[in-house]
């Protein structure tokens, strides 16, 4: 039973008030952490988080919980590392055991090209103050014995980068922990409240229309992940975001078998074993746009073929559930956090397949941006206008393959 892991009280279920200083649209991890840091860091508590469904029922409920900060570019490294530092004290800060486990994240490489890129990242990480190591196959064997290191693999493992401080946390608990503290500060968490329109006064936003009536707002902060363009379109704002299905799956509970997080780009796998014992595995992104929270089965088939290749021991584990989320993909695979051309309207989106790990930092810098009306230095590079300038922060990793 897991009930006893949780506090007796999480949140009230208030009806929305007529007006708030700040209305946050979207009660996912980012919306909730934004509300929390608005209250905690900036003393702004007359805040509502409006959620169309149940709290943290979007991507926050669906992600594979991988946490790491070993991003390539300086700008990304800085924001994700800020997040990592917040994770390291988050359970205490929020007074909730969020099962944050720094068990290490291993990134396998399978070609010279992969290996070169991994080295590039390891070296860059170190200069950015992020822990990063390169492991040879022998060292991988020691660190994670169940990885298949046979040279007979179609794409044999050539090595791996390792971030020991990386790991996982329990996604739902993280959301509830932020929600509980925000609630305690007086933030209204309003569920089943869909934002259906915006009130504008000239070029300024003054409130929102919702399925539970109009709500006036000093500032409106979008935090709607896959639905960001749908909301932005209501005020005539076009965001460079595409919403794609991203699937994941779990096995039944198993005795401990996998002691760290393993990622592989080439033989597409990302997998960890959650604290209860289920293997949690992310699949590939479906190429098409979808809001259905489901994807195609061949993606799952490929995923499991890759998993069994790399972990022969998984062969007879069973998939007990697959699901999908709606990820908000930006052209450079980096988030968009900051101001919009509309006064008092802020945007936070584009975290795509990797924003869970950013949950604390995203809320931290977004709250700052909302409170001050200007970006925090950490999110300044992630402005919406970077696309016009061409100042992209390309985290896709290297593109083509050599001659």
């Amino acid at each position: 039973m897991s009930g006893s892991e949780h506090p007796d009280h999480l949140w009230r279920n208030p009806d929305p008030k007529r007006s708030y200083d700040v209305v946050i649209v979207g009660g996912g991890g980012h919306g909730l952490s934004t509300a929390y840091y608005l209250a905690r860091n900036h003393g702004i508590t007359n805040v509502a988080v409006l959620e169309r469904g149940w709290l943290a029922g979007g991507n926050m409920a669906r992600n594979t919980t991988v946490i790491r900060s070993n991003y390539l570019w300086d700008e990304s490294a800085a924001i994700y590392e800020h997040s990592m530092k917040l994770w390291e004290t988050l359970a205490e800060d929020l007074d909730y055991d969020i099962l944050f486990s720094q068990r290490g994240v291993l990134n396998l490489t399978h070609s010279l090209h992969d290996t070169r890129e991994a080295h590039r990242r390891v070296y860059a990480n170190r200069l950015n103050g992020i822990d990063a190591e390169w492991l040879t196959p022998e060292e991988i064997k020691e660190f994670c014995p169940i990885v298949n290191l046979s040279p007979d693999l179609r794409y044999p493992v050539m090595g791996a980068s390792l971030q020991r401080r990386g790991g996982i946390a329990k996604h739902d608990y993280v959301a509830w922990a932020f929600a509980r503290q925000a609630d305690a500060f007086g933030v209204d968490l309003v569920q089943n409240c869909e934002v259906t329109g915006f009130d504008l006064d000239g070029g300024r936003v003054t409130g929102v229309q919702t399925s539970r009536g109009p709500i006036a707002a000093g500032k409106v902060a979008l935090c709607a992940a896959g639905h960001s363009t749908v909301l932005a379109a209501m005020v005539g704002l076009d965001l460079p975001i595409q919403s794609h299905p991203l699937q994941a799956l779990v096995s039944e509970l198993l005795e401990p078998a996998l002691n760290c997080v393993v990622l592989s780009n080439a033989v597409h796998v990302y997998v960890s074993q959650a604290h209860k014992g289920e293997l949690v595995m992310g699949a590939g992104i479906d190429p098409f746009i979808s809001y259905a929270q489901r994807g195609s089965p061949h993606i799952i088939e490929y995923q499991l073929a890759a998993a069994v290749e790399l972990f022969p021991i998984f062969s007879r584990a069973h998939v007990v559930r697959t699901w999908g989320g709606i990820v908000d993909v930006s052209p450079d695979a980096s988030p968009i956090v900051g101001l919009t051309p509309i006064e008092n309207l802020f945007v936070n989106c584009g975290w795509g397949t990797g924003g869970f790990k950013a949950t604390p930092a995203s809320g931290w810098v977004y709250a700052h941006t909302i409170a001050r009306g200007e970006p925090h230095p950490l999110n300044a590079p992630f402005s919406l206008d970077r696309f016009a300038r061409g100042a992209l922060i390309d985290e896709h990793g290297a593109a083509a393959v050599a001659h």
């Binding site: 639905h227 363009t229 749908v230 379109a233 076009d238 965001l239 460079p240 975001i241 595409q242 919403s243 190429p287 098409f288 746009i289 979808s290 809001y291 259905a292 195609s296 089965p297 061949h298 052209p331 696309f387 016009a388 300038r389 061409g390």
Partner: protein, 88 residues
């Protein structure tokens, strides 16, 4: 697994196709005269509606023809399939 009606080959499994994103995106008539913002819109901003979307696919493992379909992004129902030269 979508079943996609290629206007030429008929209904085929999604795995035979390559996705091409939104259809009917206009290339700026004279890229040299548009400003950076307009050019960036062309490069990066695409329709992303919740509901029907006109989109391009290429039957890359089949007849290699690009074509358009209208597909609902919520139900995945495909309402229409038409050739490149046909009106949207």
């Amino acid at each position: 697994m979508l079943l996609i009606p290629c206007p030429w080959c008929g209904q085929r499994d999604e795995i035979e196709f390559r996705y091409g994103g939104a259809a009917h995106v206009e290339y700026p008539a004279d890229p040299e005269t548009v400003d950076d913002a307009t050019w960036a819109r062309y490069l990066f901003v695409r329709p992303n509606p919740k509901g029907p979307l006109a989109e391009r696919w290429c039957h890359s493992q089949g007849c290699r023809r690009w074509f358009n379909i209208v597909r609902d992004t919520v139900t995945h129902q495909i309402m229409r399939s038409y050739r490149m030269e046909e009106a949207p």
